[in-house]
């Protein structure tokens, strides 16, 4: 008898998703899909609003990577007022460093949240552990000391964000052309020395290595499983600086293949020439791909695994992360790594990388300097801007246009989780085939393995559902409006 297996909802991820797997009479996998079941609407309803509202409103796309959305919007507005990279203007040192500080703080807290609160339970308890245990409650019961360190680390990252943006979430720092404040000595010292309920930056760097240690122990015990689990092909994409290594705030978009050869590299202002997005009836999330290669070959992976695949080496001022990355690269003899569970290895390296980058920045006296903003003449107004950053989950793009009154007329957002749509579906299919294929008896733990492959991407299905528009609850609304609708419906 053919069967349809349903995971609803996928848990321990941000946002709403569901998985369906179709098995034939012989229990072979016919189909396996990740469905994004929600969606909101930002590209349309932002239209008509003043351009400067965009970074404030659009950060509400996501509560975990709002700094990335805020900065992407800010970079787009820099372009729009004639103070951005599209007009050949570079950001002043203090505002650029303030933006970077917020971004690295967010990467620290976002990765810590995803890694320890959502992903680590399987590493400690196993994929088929009791579902009631595979979560933060189980962690507290099993290892309260670890949880205390995680809480202290996450708190530090959140307080760092607050020092820059004024709130732990959805604050304001970036404005068109710069930032609205620099970092006071008191705020800096609290973060460096660990005053007032915080740990010190040196403790942060020490605690930040917990993730890596956990991964190494888990890998040592489960090497075969970790290395063969959902090994799926994809190109790897990241923003890179002039040295060809990841730059989380600014750079060119670079795509590399399995041999780490550059497939394409582009100025993100030209993204429309390079990317298309396909739509399927069974998910609200689109499927972006490189036009030149087509959908099958041209889908990219983004996020921690893609970034460490693209990057050759971290700089000498982040020595612990640099050494960890060398070890990572050695493991696959210099080839790009397609092992889905190694994304968690990459994520734990990036936790350490952000901690070390933050230490360097906090000691930079530019954070206390001025000026904070470039104010170009009104004649410099371009009315269009594009911003791209490396969000914790991967390459994030915002593109806006505004009219001469300064009201937004167009917005397009291509988020990291959407870029990963195809490779996530490949991972689900791979795990479904190896865990369920040919088996008559299916357990909950086998299906949790499928969720484990999804969690490795740390997908933010809240981010991925920004696009708007949908078949309405009441179909007759469309029918009443005429033929136009019928044109689109099956």
């Amino acid at each position: 008898m053919s069967r349809k297996i349903i995971i609803d909802p996928v848990t321990r991820i941000e946002g709403h998703g569901k998985v369906t797997i179709h098995l034939d009479d012989n229990n072979q996998v016919i189909d396996a899909k990740l469905h994004v079941v929600e969606f909101r609407g930002f590209e349309k309803f932002i239209q008509g609003h003043p351009y400067w509202e965009a970074p404030m409103l659009l950060q509400r796309i996501c509560g975990i990577c709002f700094v990335s959305h805020h900065l992407c919007g800010a970079k787009a507005l820099d372009d729009m007022i004639g103070a951005g990279y599209s007009t050949g203007v570079s950001m002043l040192p203090t505002p650029e460093k303030m933006r970077r500080l917020a971004h690295y703080m967010q990467q620290l807290q976002s990765h810590v949240t995803a890694y320890f609160y959502l992903i680590v339970p399987e590493m400690l308890f196993g994929m088929d552990a009791p579902p009631e245990q595979r979560n933060v409650l189980g962690l507290v019961e099993a290892n309260p000391e670890l949880v205390k360190r995680v809480v202290a680390l996450r708190k530090w990252g959140q307080e760092g964000i607050k020092a820059v943006l004024g709130k732990r979430m959805h604050g304001i720092n970036s404005i068109p052309g710069g930032v609205n404040q620099n970092l006071s000595i008191a705020a800096r010292d609290r973060l460096l020395k660990g005053e007032d309920g915080l740990i010190s930056i040196d403790d942060v760097i020490e605690y930040a290595q917990d993730g890596l240690k956990l991964f190494y122990e888990f890998h040592e015990k489960n090497r075969q499983q970790v290395d063969s689990f959902a090994e799926v092909p994809a190109l790897n994409m990241s923003l890179v600086g002039d040295d060809g290594n990841v730059d989380y705030y600014h750079g060119k978009m670079r795509v590399v293949d399995k041999n780490k050869e550059i497939v394409t590299e582009l100025d993100y202002h030209d993204y429309l020439d390079h990317f298309s997005e396909a739509t399927e009836e069974w998910s609200y999330m689109k499927f972006p791909f490189l036009k030149a290669l087509g959908r099958e070959a041209g889908s990219v992976r983004v996020g921690p695994l893609a970034r460490v695949n693209v990057t050759k080496a971290y700089s000498d001022d982040t020595p612990l992360a640099k050494a960890a990355l060398e070890h990572f690269h050695d493991y696959t003899q210099g080839k790009a790594n397609d092992k889905t569970l190694h994304t968690n290895w990459a994520r734990s390296i990036e936790i350490l990388h952000s901690a070390e980058l933050i230490k360097v920045l906090l000691n930079d006296p530019d954070l206390q300097k001025e000026p904070l903003i470039i104010t170009p003449p009104k004649s410099a107004w371009t009315g269009e801007g594009i911003g791209v950053v490396e969000a914790p989950r991967g390459t994030l793009l915002h593109h806006y246009r505004a009219n001469e009154e300064g009201n937004i007329t167009f917005a397009n957002l291509v988020v990291a989780t959407t870029q990963n749509n195809t490779v996530m579906n490949r991972s689900i299919r791979s795990v479904a085939e190896s865990y369920l294929g040919g088996k008559a008896e299916i357990t909950e733990g086998m299906l949790n393995a499928i969720e484990v492959s999804i969690r490795a991407y740390d997908p933010c299905l809240s981010c991925a559902t920004h696009a708007m528009g949908q078949m309405p609850l009441v179909l007759s609304v469309f029918n009443a409006k005429g033929e136009l609708v019928n044109e689109f419906v099956r």
Binding site: T11, H35, E38, P130, P144, K167, N448, M468
Partner: protein, 209 residues
């Protein structure tokens, strides 16, 4: 949501590895809480984690059952509290919210989206058809010459014409405003409720940004 085909098997209905009875007994003795996020940004759930050290202490008294940070996919019994972020934006949200109302003694709307729809409700002033064209038909990244497709499938819920606050669908007992409310505010409310005190949010904590 609804199970209508006998060939359909939900993962949470399959055999699981049982939890150690002693651990379960300890959890059963605590105050039972279910959480969920509907149409929002997950930020209020993160604010829940922003209780920091106090969260660890809270977990001495509270057991979290169904939530987005645990793998319990249906409410397993009678709950003292339901903690809900996000507004109502699709057919599934409505059904799940009703399930929460039915099984929770007290329901709390947490954050701007749950309380009045929040930023996602900004779409309420735009006809759906226009939104629909913008996303899938007129998008500048749409695949040229491809068949125009709008997501519509038995495996995904339909979207409501308007984004609604929770209390337009079911009765809500308490409201914690903020976008998001911070960890201290959430702690104040939960600490009062689990210790049998009245809901009492001081005006200093009653903020809306």
């Amino acid at each position: 949501m609804t199970k209508c085909n006998k060939n359909e098997i939900f993962s949470h209905e399959l055999p699981t590895t049982p939890i150690d009875p002693e651990t379960q007994a300890k959890r059963d003795a605590k105050i039972q809480v279910a959480m969920i996020g509907f149409c929002g940004c997950w930020g209020c759930t993160l604010s829940f984690l922003d209780m920091d050290e106090a969260l660890i202490a809270l977990l001495d008294k509270v057991n979290i059952t169904r939530s987005s940070i645990t793998d319990t996919k249906r409410i397993p019994g009678r709950m003292a509290l339901g903690f809900i972020e996000g507004g109502i934006a699709n057919s599934e949200n409505i059904a799940v919210l009703e399930e929460y109302r039915e099984n929770c003694d007290v329901l709390i709307s947490v954050g701007a989206c749950a309380i009045w729809g929040g930023v996602p409700a900004m779409r309420n002033v735009i006809p759906l058809e226009e939104c629909f064209r913008e996303a899938y038909i007129d998008s500048e990244t749409a695949v040229p010459d491809a068949k125009k497709t709008i997501p519509f499938h038995e495996d995904i819920p339909t979207i409501t014409t308007k984004v609604m606050p929770l209390h337009e669908v079911v009765k809500i007992d308490y409201f914690i405003p903020g976008c998001p409310p911070d960890g201290a505010t959430i702690l104040k409310v939960l600490d009062d409720l689990i210790n049998g005190r009245e809901f009492d949010l001081p005006s200093a904590m009653n903020r809306y940004d």
